[in-house]
Symmetry: C2
Subunit: 656 residues, 2 copies
């Protein structure tokens, strides 16, 4: 199901052509046009229908911001082509804490990208098939699980499966915009189903008007989410990586601008009235039906509600949104691995699965997204409130890092360091243009970050302001922990772990083959002394083993320890400690027979006593645990081999 394992050297063939990279890395940014115009007009509608006249100005501001951000990221890609993106830029230029904050913001955003995209995708599916309305959340969770499974198969397959829908989405939405605009110019403007609905509006003071417009702008900024994805994915591009990534980014930016502007225009032309709470729409029967998404309303107005093109647009929109969720599954594990490599996250995140994917990270991301979807009941507006904060945290800090980077480059150019060190010399004009662009980007994104914070904080964004510091602290804590352990276990030539003797203890429960194998192995390893040890919970069990021992003429001496408290490890620990007191710092090897079973349920039937004993004995000085596996017949079914006696020595007693 997950395919054959792949060798590391196969990695190169997995690099992405531009036309494949676009659907993978750009789908996040492109798909956001499916919800950004909707959220923009929805917030304005809170002020009343007349507020919709602000739409063009707010949309224009979003487009300007989008252009600046795309230009800024073109600079970032060139300067840091290693794929660390904003995290790497912030860490290298601004220091550890900003780096960790950006990483936390990005992690939160990846989770929310999945949640928002899937929620919006489900909304668009429901707009086309209202019969699915009762299963909103179930559908959303099901899609996340599907995406996890697809991604566990590896990067290239995912790309192939998902390339077509993105192009269909771009094509069909572009067609819709062209048809809509042509009909509008021709005087046959399409009319949305909600054009007739009105809303009740309170009259607002000037400050409230400004705040509402800024809030609409903040929501519209969700069109910018995903722009950074390409900067995190540069290493996955074919050579010349930087050039290809930049071209892809530009194409993506242009497409985004066109689609966003076109959809916003059509929303105004067709008169879409989309309300935060559908029951606020006067004329809309909110009890019986879901409110169709803005995309669905425009498509229905332009092509007709039952037309093939309407369903094509809804299907493509849903697909591209799911693909956007998929973007996060590419980015999150890569960032997790970068963090693990730098010591800020558990090392397990840097363990590639057999399919060259960072499976652990994917599973964590999917589980977190499912949790968010369930808690928010897959409500798109709620999710978007949380979403934009993190995006602009990383935008701002990333751009600020870039400004610092260019200033350093400039200083280095003046001193001539790079020439001396043999590094490629950056062109003075490149540096200056980078500095200008990124300064503009930093200033604008920081301003937007402030606006977003002010307008969204009470609408749920405080949660993100809680999550980012917690994650950052965790990362710093993990980093300190690894550093301490590293120091603790650092090698030095003076420390030696020697011993003056060598004792083997074979733990025997009953005299059965697994114990016999452990005995034979201990004898074959020719320790200084080998003894068998039985811990007797009752006097009878001790006698029994002693009798079996005598009956089979075992020559290894048997020691029986009584255990009044029915604990097995404590008497053994005491025995070893006494032995070491008497014989000096002996090396003690405790042989433990270990069952290897074929089926998971068999492990329920075997006592975990030996594992518990091993865990306790490991705390004793000088003890090594030798696990002697005994493969039960059932394991033969699965591993195709079993415990067989080997040719060799006879079972012998202790050497004299």
């Amino acid at each position: 199901m997950i395919g054959d394992p792949l060798a590391s050297s196969d990695g190169d063939d997995h690099l992405l052509r531009k036309r494949m990279a676009l659907p993978i890395f750009a789908s996040d940014a492109l798909s956001s046009v499916a919800y950004a115009p909707q959220e923009l007009v929805m917030i304005l509608l809170i002020g009343g229908i007349s507020f919709l006249s602000f739409t063009p100005w707010v949309a224009a501001a979003v487009v300007v911001l989008l252009v600046v951000v795309v230009l800024s990221y073109r600079q970032l890609i060139k300067a840091y082509p290693s794929g660390g993106g904003d995290y790497e830029v912030a860490r290298k230029n601004l220091g550890e804490i900003p780096g960790v904050v950006v990483a936390s913001a990005l992690l939160v955003d990846y989770i929310l990208t999945v949640a928002v995209s899937v929620a919006s995708g489900v909304d668009n599916i429901i707009s086309a098939l209202p019969v699915l309305h009762p299963w909103r959340v179930e559908l959303a969770v099901g899609f996340v699980i599907l995406i996890i499974l697809v991604n566990l198969r590896g990067v290239r397959e995912a790309s192939r499966a998902f390339a077509l829908p993105t192009y269909i989405f771009i094509g069909s939405v572009a067609l819709m915009i062209v048809v809509g605009v042509v009909r509008w110019i021709a005087g046959d403007a399409p009319v949305a189903s909600s054009a007739g609905y009105t809303v009740e509006a309170d009259s607002l003071g000037q400050a409230a008007v400004i705040l509402l417009v800024l809030r609409a702008f903040s929501s519209g900024c969700s069109a910018l989410t995903g722009v950074e994805a390409i900067s995190n994915g540069v290493p996955a591009f074919r050579r010349p990586k930087v050039r290809n990534a930049q071209v892809t980014l530009t194409v993506m930016g242009l497409t985004s601008v066109l689609l966003f502007s076109g959809l916003t225009l059509l929303a105004l032309v067709t008169g879409v009235h989309y309300a935060e709470n559908p029951c606020d729409l006067i004329g809309f029967d909110c009890a019986d039906q879901p409110q169709p998404s803005l995309m669905a309303q425009i498509a229905a107005a332009t092509f007709g509600g039952g037309s093939v093109l309407f369903f094509v647009i809804q299907a493509a929109t849903a697909c591209v949104l799911l693909l956007a969720a998929n973007t996060a599954f590419n980015g999150f594990p890569l960032l997790g691995a970068a963090l693990a490599r730098d010591g800020y996250a558990p090392k397990a995140l840097n363990t590639r699965g057999d399919r060259l994917v960072f499976s652990n990270g994917m599973i964590i991301l999917g589980a977190a997204a499912i949790l968010v979807l369930v808690v928010s009941q897959a409500n798109l507006t709620t999710l978007i409130q949380l979403y934009i904060i993190g995006v602009f945290v990383s935008f701002s800090l990333g751009q600020l890092g870039m400004v610092r980077h260019w200033l350093r480059e400039l200083a280095s150019l003046r001193r001539g360091d790079a020439v001396q060190a043999g590094r490629p010399v950056a062109d003075r004009r490149d540096i200056l243009s980078g500095l200008v662009i990124n300064s503009l980007g930093a200033a604008l994104t920081a301003a937007v970050f402030l606006i977003v914070t002010v307008t969204k904080f009470t609408h749920g964004a405080w949660l993100v302001f809680l999550a980012i510091p917690i994650l950052s602290l965790l990362m710093v804590g993990v980093s300190r922990y690894y550093r301490d352990v590293e120091q603790e276990i650092a090698f030095d030539d003076d420390t030696h772990f020697g011993a003056s003797g060598d004792l083997a203890i074979v733990l025997v429960g009953r005299l059965q083959k697994p114990a016999a194998k452990a005995l034979d192995y201990a004898v074959a390893a020719r320790h200084d002394r080998t003894i068998a040890l039985h811990v007797a919970a009752t006097a009878e069990s001790g006698h029994e083993v002693q009798e079996e021992w005598t009956a089979h003429g075992m020559t290894v001496p048997l020691v029986i320890l009584e255990s009044p408290y029915r604990t097995y490890a404590t008497p053994i620990v005491e025995f070893i400690q006494k032995y070491r007191e008497k014989h000096g710092a002996t090396l003690v090897t405790v042989y433990l027979p270990q069952y290897i079973v074929g089926h998971w349920w068999e492990s329920l039937l075997h006592n975990r006593r030996s594992r518990r004993i091993a865990a306790q004995l490991m705390l004793v000085h000088g003890v090594t645990i030798a696990l002697v596996p005994w493969l039960l017949d059932s394991s033969e079914l699965i591993y195709g081999r079993r415990s067989r006696p080997l040719p060799g020595q006879q079972r012998a007693g202790e050497r004299v």
Copy 2:
């Protein structure tokens, strides 16, 4: 929180006095009078108010049955004082399958005892405090968790904490019966709050009438549940165990009969009308309030709804029902241990915790009861439908086993076997009286089993008919599995597990102290050959280790294996297999450094790679895994010790 560990020999002091054993083992049987009369009149009320005139006859039948069953169990206790109860009797006299069926029925019943008792207890609490009505299920689950925690502390403490409420229950309910009867005789009969409500009833044919009366009888038989508890707990009594257990059983039987009869009488006197669905009661506002339990209605009628005695009765009833749930926590783990000892259940159930309790069994029982409560939404009537089946399965088979037992004794007495074998000779009169009593018991309980099956099957009892065979099959399967493994690993003098050589492989990730300790230990154990092995995922990591090796002048030869697929175990397995092909059946000891951490979260931060490697290497012929523990400083906090270099040998190279 769970107290100090107890030695096995302390077990004797844990034996129960009669006055302590009564609350522990009899509370199940006694508490059932809190719901049995209620369920009896509830079912009759389905036929209409006139059907309540059947009540005395149905109740009388239940009392007769109760007396017979108590007498039967007196015989069982004498014949099988080891506490196996019905399970032991059925297994020894009727064979494996009946024994396993009885065990399954008992396991199901223990779970349902907890569920029914807690559900009824919560009902009685809600009857006194209706404000708690919305939290029915949460309360029930909370109580189960509380009982689990109390029981994990051990038997005696549980007994002390619970002894008082049982006596208060018996005393206060007896007082209520006396007061109610006296007022009735004095012509001032108390009137229940529901006395004025009526129900609509369809007119029923004769067959339907008989079926309804039989159904009411079946539900009334829930008064018998718990009678068997004492027979399972004989070993927990003080000496003379049999005599004390019999006396306790008799006292319990008498008390049960008196309370059951008294409550049923008062239900008729006060005119309690308790309906399966409260909305069927004409005159009762079922939307706003819970239906008070029969016990609460009688107590309110007799003492007044707001009186102190009303609350005392409700509190004592709730307490004794929770205590009944506690009975199961004494019985279930004992039965589980008996099954584990006989090989029908996982051996882990026979592992006593440090507090002399079978913790595993308790946790399983509690979890199952919580599941049942949540699924049934703590509905008492639903649960009782399931409950009685299992009780009568074990009653019938147990009594049948006793009949077989007495017949065998009789035959043995005739042949004089026991005299020859020196066994105590059973009195012929004892045998005959036992035979008569148990035959009567077997016949009656089997008849009731049929009635219960016919009347309850479609009301949910089919679930039990599904559960018992499944559990029985599982037990038989477990038994077969253990038997097969036992045969597989049986010792024989001819099998030897020798080897012709002895190779130590020390797995080295980076040259750090844990690896150094493993190296030193391997060298100290003086194997024929000792090598260090590094698996390199990338060429760089290989070079790095090689350089460190040279820099520190390590004399143990270092082998570097390349791993193109980033799997660590496969190259090692291949290396070992090649080595053994070349050098013959070598014994290979693989030394793996193992981190021991102090906090649970630290294990998240350390790669589980070494565990995965160990698991795969254990499948290779001739391999022993030597785990060399490295105690991180953090473990010192918890275990008070840490890895320290030992005095002794210098780190040395391979011996020549």
